[in-house]
Subunit: 518 residues, 2 copies
């Protein structure tokens, strides 16, 4: 199938089998059990940030618990050990002290919960799969956790229009599997897909590896239902591709991290599932080469380009050292992962082959592997998608997720490495080049105040200087709320605050998140 020079290379590359991958959903991976044992050692957020005071909220009483137990029989958790996992974020860097977790099944129940909490001024934190990376989905103090775990019903799927309707607590991978039977695919894909909830995806405007092809959720979400702090249900459940009747309210809830309302149902447009998928994993001598290959890929692969990811050698070391993964190519300073998929396997293969031949003949790539078989594809993706898991093994993970102009993209990693020197275990850069989105991570054995002071606010100033975004896809959550002015103007933040006040006058919805402290 492949021609001449390329063909020989591909044979060689294919022979190097990628071994010892396990399913790349980070929440079922082995490192999680290690993590669970560590939970109790994680410092409480209120202790780590002693200057932060609890807002003007009521304390939970036995009467409150009785009310909820009556409303949600058998779906109210109050035992500290049952709440442990939900009080702690996935990274193990934030730990709240909530005493109550509620598991509603219906929008009406969510409405009744919020109406009660609003009347009592009880603060709440909505929680989906709890896979967030900025401390947005866990309590800071004792906020009541409202979990969407039991709101997991698929409502409908129209296989002509490709519209899926479901409750907010459906797990992304389960949805993808469901629509796959109708030759459709979910328009987003991310490492946490085996645990994250679609409602959480919308609340955080999750990006992931397919954004390059399918665009953001602001485009692919057709409708949603949300409950305001008052308990009022906002019904924007359109399943129509086009609907220009009034303000597009659903957009407000996408990316507002549960601070304006709790999303309870979703309708989303699912594109046709590619008939064939190929993945190329390439070694590159420099970041300039990565960019050249990207420009060529956009031009030559066009509409079949599903993903364009990169990782540096420090990233490869991380998954090799900490997860025992093996690279399918020899040592390079940078690696590129290209995924293609379209409606005609033969055409897609021809395009990819021609593209790779061109890159080889122009000397941009000298080693790489191509996979078309699903296990091998999953193995290659594992190198990229299990990075977050690999980094956690080092101990504490200082995690940054920035957008930058491509011309400045990797310089930040070099500058950070120079700055933190030997204080860090490692400084790694990887991410979605195709979206201008860099994941910069620093690790150390445990949380280190001195190291932290070298990283922040340096990184935010750096990103701001080059007009980047201090949070490309992870959101602001708890950890980054006070750095919002590095990416947004005062007038914009002021308007956000006024909208928050309008929609949640008592501020009970996910306090201490997204908006900066006063």
């Amino acid at each position: 199938m492949f021609t001449t020079q390329l063909c020989r290379h591909l044979e060689r590359w294919s022979a190097r089998n990628v071994t010892r991958f396990i399913k790349h959903d980070r929440n079922i991976c082995t490192s999680m059990s290690v993590f669970s044992n560590k939970t109790k050692q994680i410092e409480l957020t209120r202790n780590r940030y002693p200057d932060l005071k609890k807002g003007p909220y009521a304390d939970l009483t036995g009467q409150d618990v009785d009310y909820f137990s009556n409303l949600l029989p058998g779906r109210v958790l109050t035992d500290a050990s049952d709440l442990e996992g939900s009080n702690t974020d996935w990274l193990g860097t934030c730990r709240g002290s909530s005493q109550l977790l509620l598991r509603p099944k219906t929008t009406d129940e969510v409405s009744k919960i919020l109406e009660y909490c609003n009347g009592r001024k009880l603060a709440v934190v909505p929680q989906g799969g709890n896979t967030g990376l900025v401390g947005g989905s866990v309590p800071v103090f004792d906020e009541i956790i409202i979990s969407t775990q039991l709101m997991n019903q698929i409502i409908s799927l129209d296989d002509i229009s490709g519209t899926l309707e479901c409750q907010a607590g459906c797990v992304l991978a389960a949805l993808d599997s469901y629509v796959s039977d109708s030759n459709l695919t979910m328009p987003l894909d991310l490492g946490a897909k085996g645990s994250c909830h679609i409602g959480g995806n919308l609340s955080t405007n999750a990006g992931g590896v397919r954004l390059l092809r399918y665009g953001s959720l602001h485009g692919s979400v057709l409708g949603l239902e949300a409950v305001l702090a008052s308990g009022e249900i906002i019904d924007c459940k359109s399943t129509l591709r086009k609907d220009n009747t009034g303000y597009d309210l659903k957009q407000l809830f996408i990316g507002s991290e549960g601070t304006l309302g709790i999303i309870t149902a979703v309708s989303i447009l699912c594109p046709q599932k590619p008939k064939s998928v190929s993945v190329a994993f390439l070694g590159c001598e420099s970041f300039e080469t990565v960019l050249s290959i990207f420009k060529q890929a956009k031009h030559s692969l066009g509409e079949i380009l599903l993903a364009f990811e990169f990782m540096d050698s420090a990233s490869m070391d991380t998954v090799r050292d900490n997860l025992n993964l093996t690279s399918p190519v020899s040592e390079f300073p940078f690696y590129v992962l290209i995924e293609t998929g379209g409606s005609d396997g033969k055409h897609d293969e021809e395009k990819l082959t021609a593209f790779l031949e061109n890159q080889m003949s122009s000397g941009l790539i000298s080693d790489g592997t191509v996979a078309t078989e699903s296990t091998k594809i999953a193995n290659i993706w594992g190198l990229r998608e299990r990075m977050a898991e690999g980094l956690m093994v080092d101990g504490y993970n200082y995690k940054y997720d920035v957008s930058l102009p491509l011309s400045k993209f990797y310089q930040l990693v070099d500058d950070m490495r120079d700055r933190v020197g030997g204080l860090a275990t490692r400084v790694v850069g990887y991410g979605h080049v195709g979206d201008g989105n860099l994941h910069l991570n620093v690790t150390s054995p445990q949380y280190d105040e001195e190291l932290m002071s070298l990283i922040e606010p340096f990184i935010y100033d750096w990103v701001s200087k080059y007009k980047g975004s201090i949070s490309a896809e992870h959101g602001l959550g708890f950890k980054k709320r006070n750095f919002i002015y590095h990416s947004k103007s005062k007038s914009a933040v002021d308007l956000m605050k006024r909208m928050k006040l309008l929609m949640d006058p008592n501020g009970i919805l996910n306090p201490y998140k997204l908006l900066p402290d006063n």
Copy 2:
């Protein structure tokens, strides 16, 4: 290139040349001069709707005009004949009586204008290319017209990321031509492209014929700048593909029809320009056939499907009778226009050929034409895109733009035809099948109250019954504002009203539009 049976058909079809098309921008077409002469005969909106009273706004004084003349020297129009075109909508169905038109060049000037108007409680209407179809871009009473005509500067184009930054008054076709030099294309395309402004496109969340492929503006707009009623400038001018730092305020302005703020600058993601474009125009025996072909097209053409449009025989009669256009295929009850485009002309052609062969061998299509040459493509598109212009020649045009589930899509046209009987000159249906978006039009020699009472609210009730949208892409503007409840819940409209009050407390921005009367 084409094979066997299909090849013979294509030769035959190609021989039937499409003649006498002119450039399909409706604002430079010959019928416009006819229209211009009619302007003075169009009834003033305030007379046609005598029950509607002017809001609590100030009347314009000489002192006000002096202020603006000083702010915008040489860019203030007060002469009634100069304002005639801007007081009247493109359809000739709404006519305001503004005495002042302002032509700012900068965001700062827009800010100063609004600050002044807000202080004086002078109502304003923002106006782009004035190509709207629901009376949203013209004054209802004497609102001051703020035109974006002179805000037509391109700010930057990044040809790696594909991000274009420009002022709000740039004409869509001019932008498309500009980015075309960098092998990019604008992510939207519509009949009014030669006149409509990108700011107006965003304000109305314009859809058009490429939405099927490139998605809505909520996905492709990366940033914008808007001025609130108070004069405050909201800077959301990101050029980044990903930015999750706070509420996505720009989404509020997309589709809010100038009632929350005036958009002054835009940054938008431009996809790669297809290397080859083909158009197939096919005759169909029934609407069921249209749907079958659509389902197959999604499956077989997948990522290269740019547009899937349909028109009924009454639509074809309209452009034939009123614009002297000629159909390239013989008489059919329905016609389908399919546009494809991708990164490899040979692959695209193979896909289209295979698809058409399949449709022919399964008996779904028996006549059609395929064009790859730009003039012929433009001619075929003219049949579809000059429909609005053709309908106007009949006299008065009752224009509806609805989303419906595909199963009910065409039944509305049949039902409407039965209902209005001989009172109408014609009842036609055409539109974007691929988006579930039907354009239903009724015409009569002049405005007819009896005919109108047969159409409305019947059409809105019908659409509401099947959970459609009463305005898929045209917006609500002046004409449809009071029918919003047919597509939106009371809780949603209440929240919209509260947001309007928050952002424009004096209600000076485009009053009598989008939101229902109290």
